[in-house]
Amino acid sequence: MTECEKTLEMLPWYVTGKLGAADAAAVAAHIQTCETCRRELAEVVWVRNSVSVVTRDLPSVRQHVWRRVLSRVGWHDVARVDIGSMLVGFRLGVNARRPGSPVRASLNVMGRNVRIVGSDRRDKCETTKPDE
């Protein structure tokens, strides 16, 4: 393989800064002496910029997709009862989810959640999120 061929193969990662130091140095040294590879480098930079033009406006994923993911994983509640009082600092919550343990209950005391029913593997590390 010629130096030009080696350089051409590495140009995309030279432009994105993903080459190792030795390879980057080799490319830098070669393009200083090779007009053809300098033109190729310019084209790679141009293509990268073109991709950036299109991808800079790619949208973010919509908020509701997380809920759909939860539903696909099977975490949605099919029934939920909460009894308690914020004033005295406790809350008893009972809910049914599928799959896994059909009924779970927990006691929330001063902000700490204590599981009292339901212990399948998928529940053991639960953290309640505001939007779940």
């Binding site: 084209e43 073109s50 950036s52 790619l58 994923v61 997709v65």
Partner: protein, 168 residues
């Protein structure tokens, strides 16, 4: 802060908080990659959902031989191609017409470049996306695409030449 690989390990232990954190870190990345493959917002969302479901189910099989990002995007790619195959067979309903990109956003996009990119094959587009948008190394891009590194190089080369022919 936990690394992505540590989060995947925790998900393998059924840690929901880790799952949520991994989703927050990578949802946009997976969605945008899917969008570059399926070119449809609803389908890209579906790819994201299926990808995250697979991550949840398969996290305990992740051995850390590749980066978590590479693993996740590899799953997303498989989901996207599977979905496109089903689309071609007509197994799905047509797209919901209510989903339209924001005109204010699309107005800013260089339409000519966008059209030229869309003319490229799926293989060329995904290679461009991974290397120039995700800025992946050659090894990582090859891992996501499931092809040898030489194939990634040649796909990028031909994608570049096709774009140049179209636009220069």
């Amino acid at each position: 802060m936990k690394t992505d690989e540590a989060l995947v390990w925790s998900i393998g232990q059924a840690d929901r908080a880790a799952f949520r954190e991994l989703y927050d870190r990578h949802a946009d990345r997976v969605y945008r990659f899917a969008l570059s493959l399926v070119r449809n917002g609803h389908l890209a969302e579906e790819v994201l959902q299926e990808t995250m479901l697979a991550v949840w189910k398969q996290a305990d099989k992740f051995r850390g031989s590749s980066k978590a990002t590479t693993w996740i995007l590899g799953i997303a790619r498989n989901q996207a191609h599977g979905l496109l195959r089903r689309e071609k067979k007509g197994e799905r309903l047509p797209e919901d017409p209510t989903f339209e990109p924001d005109p204010a956003e699309t107005a800013e996009i260089d339409v000519r470049v966008k059209q030229a990119l869309e003319k490229l094959s799926d293989e060329h587009q995904e290679a461009l996306h991974l290397v120039f948008y995700e800025e992946m190394s050659l090894a990582d891009a090859a891992a996501v695409l499931g092809v040898p590194e030489g194939t990634v190089k040649s796909r990028l080369f031909y994608a570049r030449k096709a774009l140049a022919k179209e636009l220069l």
